[in-house]
Every structure is written in C-alpha cells, then in structure tokens.
C-alpha cells in the first residue's frame, strides 16, 4: 500500500502522543479518568487554538512572532471589555482581526519579512495589553467560563474541544477550496498568481483567519484561568511554533497539518505533566523540559525511520 506524505505527517505525531500518554498513565494511573484527562488536557485547548493560528501563518511561508502577545492582548480584552460590555469587546476583536489582515497586506505589498513586522507588532499588542490591565485582573465572561468548565457526558471537555478544533480546521484547511488556495500560496505563490487569484486577498484572509483563531485562544484561556494579565500567554509564541513543527508542519512550502498541530499542542502540554510526575530536583526541572522536548522529537525521527523502512520495502 502506498502511504501519502500527508498521512505520514499525521501518523508520527499521533504515535508520539500515544506513547507519551501511555507513559503518563503508567506513572499516574489516576490520570486515566474523566477528571484526570480533563486536568491533563484542558490547558492545551487555548494552546491548540494558538497553534492552529500560527499554522495558518506558516502555511503562507510566514512566521508570527507576536502570537503570544496577541493572545495575551485578546485575553485582556476578554477579561475586561468582552465581560463588561460585550458589544465593545466584539468590536475590539473585529478591529484586531482587521489589523491582522492589514499586516498580511502590508507584508505582501512591501515584500517585508513577516518576522520583523510581527516582532514590531508584538510590542504593540504587549503595550495595548499593559494599558488595558496594568496589573492582573479582570473577570471571565460567564459563558466563556461555563463553556470551558462544562462537563459533557463520557468525554471530558478538553478532549471534545480538541477533537472539534482538529476536525473543523482540518476541513477548513485541508479539504476546502480556501484551504487549498492558502496552502497553494505557501507552495508556489507564482502559480497561484498566474492562475488568476488575488494573492494579496488570500494573504489578508489567511492572516485574518489566524487572528480569529488567536482571539478564540484568548477567550478559551480566560475561560480557564478566570482572569487575565498582560503577560499571560507570552510563551504561546514559541509553544505554537513548536506545536506546528511537532505536528509535522514545516517552516516553508505550505506543508502543514491542522490535526497534527492540535496533536502537537496536546503533546507539548502532556510533556510538561510527564515531568511533574517524574519529581526531578528543582535545579534540573527546567533542564528536564528541554530534555523531554528532545526526546519527543527524537521519537519523531525514530518513527520516521521505521516508516521509511516500511515504505521502501
């Protein structure tokens, strides 16, 4: 049987997640329950959304260094305006998404490196967040809190949400026409252009879509934490990039996988828990986080090798 490269891109992250999960269950059997799974994974939901947003940007060969500060900004908006006066909150979000689209347009028109523009934007979002919440606070809107803490039957919310995110984005990016065009821009801009599409609109749309998912990430995050601060999600920049890579995505060439990205986000979260369960001396706890990242990625290599052997057989 011939395995397509897209499938391979999925099998490997899924296998590493499964292995890691098995290890966690072995070390902490209590995790093997409804509550346990929810506790393990609920903070992965906002990360997964941010990862999907980053993946969209990476699909058009760009990189968003402002993801963390933007999600922080969205969290601050959620905990303040969206909670107090939803209409203004929604307007701010629409403005933010429009800003993302505008960034896409600017990057395209002036052929600027996305890294620099988003680096600049990261200061802007950070500044806006500090202005909004000079010290931590705010309150989650009731519905966001309800959504993130609801307890559906049989399967915990964290898992349901991850699956929904994975499926929706898979359909959007891998199956729909828009998704094909977005990935086409990453694969070969000129051919998309020559086929008569407006690449500038495509890029703007992609950025706006990424902005939208980042907004969702901010809302989900506040739903979990109940409040926000200006630095709440700074780590999401690196986490989201790592998640995309772990999920089999690549920096250039429009090679991305939404399901993989969600799995990548789950894997990263799980890797952190795995460490807590290992009880390492505090001196080395930080180092162990590095080590586990290395192990998980090395696993990817190992599985890759196995798969290659299968294929050449």
């Amino acid at each position: 049987m011939k395995i397509s490269s897209g499938t391979v891109r999925l099998i490997i992250p899924a296998a590493s997640l499964t292995l890691l999960l098995a290890a966690v269950f072995y070390m902490q059997p209590r995790a093997m329950s409804y509550t346990g799974l929810n506790l393990l994974f609920n903070l992965a939901v906002p990360i997964a959304l941010a990862t999907v947003a980053q993946m969209l940007i990476m699909a058009v060969n760009d990189l968003d260094l402002s993801m963390g500060t933007f999600v922080s900004f969205c969290a601050c908006v959620t905990a303040t305006f969206l909670q107090a006066s939803p209409a203004i909150g929604v307007l701010i979000f629409l403005g933010a998404i429009a800003a993302y689209a505008a960034i896409g347009v600017v990057i395209h028109l002036r052929e600027l490196p996305s890294i620099v523009v988003t680096l600049g934007m990261s200061f802007v979002w950070g500044g806006l967040a500090v202005l909004m919440l000079p010290s931590p606070g705010g309150e989650a809107p009731g519905w966001a809190r309800w959504l993130m803490t609801s307890r559906p039957p049989f399967v915990p919310m964290a898992i349901v949400a991850s699956i929904v995110i994975a499926l929706v984005t898979h359909f959007l990016i891998m199956r729909s026409s828009v998704g094909v065009l977005i990935r086409g821009v990453g694969g070969n801009v000129r051919s998309v252009e020559r086929a008569g599409w407006s690449v500038i609109r495509l890029r703007a749309g992609t950025y706006a879509l990424a902005g939208f998912f980042a907004v969702l990430s901010g809302i989900a995050l506040v739903g979990l934490t109940t409040s926000a601060d200006a630095n709440i999600a700074l780590r999401y920049t690196l986490l989201s990039i790592a998640g995309v890579i772990l999920g089999g995505g690549e920096f250039v060439g429009g090679k991305v996988s939404p399901i993989g990205a969600v799995i990548g986000a789950l894997t990263l979260t799980l890797a952190g828990s795995f460490l807590s369960f290992m009880r390492i001396s505090p001196d080395w706890q930080i180092g162990a986080q590095g080590a586990i990242l290395i192990v998980v990625l090395a696993l990817r290599l190992f599985l890759n090798r196995l798969e290659k052997r299968e294929k050449s057989r």
Partner: protein, 323 residues
C-alpha cells in the same frame, strides 16, 4: 499551642507540594534553598510525608496552572504556591480546593477565596521608601523610579505605594521612571539610557535587586551618587558598606525575605493539622537600616539575599497574632 506530638500524629501522612513559577533570580533560588532546608528536616522528623518543590521554566501563569492541575492528579494534600498572577491561577486553584486540597499562597498571592494568603504589604513597602527619604532629606528633591516588570501586580502595588508616598511628601518629584524588569542588567541599561537627560537626582526608589545596577550606571555617567534604596541583595549591601566606610553614605534596604516560603509551609502544615487559621496573614518585610547593616551583612550568604527562615513556633505565633 498544640504539642509537637499531636502534630506528628496528624500530618505525618500528608504530602505538601510547592508550586513555584520562576527560578531565574537569586531571590527565588534563596527561597528554594530555604524551603529545601526546612522541609527536608520536617520530612526526616516525619512531620509530613513529603514536601516536593516544583518549578516552571518560564514565569507564566498558564504553565503554573497546568502544574497545579498535575499536583491535583498526584494527590497532594496541600499546595503551597508562589503565584505568577493573583487571578489567572484561580481556575486551577478552585479545582484544587474542590478536590479537597489546602492551598496556601505567599509572596505572589492569589485572590481565589478558598486559598490562604500570606501577604506582604507591597504598597506599604513602596511608601516606606519615600517616608524614609522624607525623614532623611526634608527638603526633598528629584526621584528616579526603577520599576519591575510591566503588567505584574507586585510592580503595580509597589509603584502605587511610591506614588502615595510622593503625594504625601510633595517636596519629592519623580522626574524619571524606567522598567528594570527586576533584572540587574536591564535596570542598568534603562538607567544609563535615561540618565543623561535627567536633572540632578536626589534619590532612587527601587523594587528590589536593582540598586547595584543603578549605582553602576550613575558611576559610569560620572554623576554624584544619590541615595539609592536597596533591595537586600548581598552585592548591594556590600556596596553600601563600602560607601558607608568611605564617606558615611546613608540609605536603607527593604525587601521580602525569601524564607517566607518556609512560613507558608508551616501554615499549610498547621491547616492540615486541623488548626483554625485565618485566610489572610501578613508578614512584615525585611528592612535593613544604617544601624543593623553590618549584622545583616554578616548573616547573608555571599552573592545571596538577606534572609529569615521560619520555624514551626514562628508560624504559630504569626497565626495566633492574626486572630
């Protein structure tokens, strides 16, 4: 006061975890060392079954929330937490409380009502700096303020205290304010950048740990050294001592003692023991003055932070005095 025997009987099977959000500066390292020292002893004496410290890689509420959720899974009886954010951990802390876990927060406290708080009045700490300066130089003068990390509550509180102090003492005027991110090199960089454009500075108010960097920046710019409020770091104290010996330089130093983690440990132990403890406890900050500089310097580890560690009895005193 309950005898040690009964405490031993009640909590010897209990497990306590420390959730720490940051380990990247000397204060946090001293805090972890104090924790290690006191709790090892307590575990050896079978006061508690375990007292494991956990640290996250980056100073992030989300990561710490995940850490606390893992602690719930691991079945700890109490969690002592130095929080990255007073509110952003509330979700995770609520879950811990629901699971029947005692949560005690210190230094970086949390607002979730089910948790205990061992708070330092950071606002008063900021105010005390200006008050000291008002006494020292009644004529007042220009102040340079070095702030911490923007968007963090401690920074906001100390700043509010300093502002309140300046309002009460209008002879002082803040002519410059920079963010030093509680990092020596960042503070030095920021001060060096703003210094050339500032008028004469009478004093520098800080948030702890930035004093030495500020002194360096003033020296590099060849400006007269103002009164710099210190933050209990050993290098600051040594510098102060040198200046004092040279020309009688006067200042004060104030910060929260890293050993407060051990107080939080004992408070958690007492709660597990069934003691009635008020939800809000206050610990004094550790202040060093011209008079007790030498004694404090002598007891401070080279390159470390001036510290006080707490024993069970001290904790019981703090608890009972709050009643």
């Amino acid at each position: 006061v309950a005898g040690p025997v009964s405490a031993l009987a009640d909590t010897s099977g209990k497990k306590i975890a420390l959730s720490n959000n940051y380990a990247g500066n000397s204060w946090r390292q001293a805090m972890l060392t104090s924790w290690d020292k006191i709790t090892k002893d307590a575990v050896a004496k079978k006061v508690v079954a375990a007292a494991d410290p956990f640290t996250t890689a980056e100073n992030q509420a989300t990561e710490q929330a995940a850490q606390i959720q893992n602690m719930i899974l691991q079945g700890y009886d109490a969690i002592v937490v130095n929080a990255a954010s007073p509110t952003a951990l509330n979700g995770a802390i609520k879950e811990a409380c629901n699971a029947g876990i005692t949560v005690v927060s210190f230094d970086g406290i949390v607002t979730e009502p089910c948790a205990w708080r061992i708070a330092v009045d950071f606002k008063a700490m900021g105010e005390s700096q200006v008050e000291y300066l008002a006494k020292k130089m009644p004529k007042g003068g220009n102040l340079l303020e070095i702030r911490g990390l923007a968007g963090v509550s401690v920074d906001d509180q100390i700043h509010a205290g300093i502002q309140a102090g300046v309002q009460k003492n209008p002879q002082f005027k803040i002519v410059g304010s920079v963010n030093g991110d509680w990092a020596q090199d960042v503070a030095q960089r920021a001060v060096a950048g703003i210094l050339p454009s500032l008028p004469e500075i009478a004093a520098v108010v800080t948030q702890g740990g930035d004093g030495y960097g500020a002194a360096q920046a003033f020296a590099a710019a060849k400006r007269p050294t103002p009164t710099i409020v210190m933050g209990n770091r050993e290098d600051e104290l040594v510098w102060w001592k040198q200046q004092k010996d040279k020309d009688g330089y006067e200042t004060m130093s104030v910060s929260i003692a890293p050993g407060v983690s051990t107080l939080a440990f004992w408070v958690a132990q007492q709660i597990l023991d069934g003691k009635q403890v008020k939800k809000d406890l206050v610990v004094p900050f550790l202040r060093i003055d011209q008079g007790n500089l030498e004694t404090n310097l002598a007891s401070t580890q080279k390159g470390g932070v001036a510290n006080v560690e707490y024993a069970l009895e001290d904790a019981q005193k703090v608890i009972s005095s709050a009643k």
